[in-house]
Symmetry: C2
Subunit: 136 residues, 2 copies
């Protein structure tokens, strides 16, 4: 599995924001209810998105979250990399992983590298605006 619920929820929430449009801040509680995601779990995801600079957040009444760019300026890749902590298809190629002792002579390494690049290009080529267009 390359994309867990965390990343998928993050995408759904971003699409949700984009779909509603507007400048208003939307409280987490409302999003959790409408998307059917556990409020507490969503909290951690929203904090990640906020810290990553993908959404603006304000406290207090009338507060909540909102996008700080237009939907076409968010690539799916950037969101997944933030929330999933990377997109490597095998541990060999993921950042921070202990370097494989066989990487020097590994016959599969070029294949993994190529796959990683392909997946990265794929996700970087899709934006939240593109996902919106898929809506019925």
């Amino acid at each position: 599995m390359i994309v867990s619920t965390k990343g998928r929820y993050a995408l759904r929430v971003m699409v949700h924001f984009a779909q509603r449009g507007g400048e208003d801040y939307i409280p987490l509680k409302e999003i959790a209810e409408q998307e059917g995601i556990s409020q507490k779990y969503l909290e951690s995801i929203m904090t990640t998105l906020s810290k990553g600079g993908f959404v603006d957040a304000v406290h207090g009444k009338g507060g909540g979250y909102r996008l700080n760019r237009s939907p076409e300026d968010y690539t799916v890749g950037s969101i997944l990399k933030l929330t999933e902590g990377g997109l490597a298809a095998v541990s060999c190629t993921s950042q921070g992983a202990a370097a494989c002792s066989r990487s020097e002579c590994c016959q599969a390494k070029p294949m993994w590298d190529k796959l990683d690049k392909m997946i990265d290009d794929f996700f970087e080529g899709i934006t939240i605006a593109d996902l919106l267009k898929e809506a019925k």
Copy 2:
């Protein structure tokens, strides 16, 4: 992570067989030692490959495993699908997974489907013979 050690070990072993060539059966113990893989763990992988019809196996002295086709007739995809039990990038698209309640209206579904197809095409387009050529 889309490919675990199980699948990666399986690939390594298949390349190992291809590299040695020949008609001789090679005992599991020997492969485990040379590849630095736990003998017991490799056992379960070899049994999978054997049951899947990817290798021939014979018991007793002089026995072991060997390929039953030429390296260019094994795609990486077929080996990974067997040992990993599929290659779906998200649970939404994997066989046997509980159908997502939102699949009807999921705006990301077409993206996941496209990704799955891309990954499948990628792995089905590479054979063990191709990996061998990468060798130094």
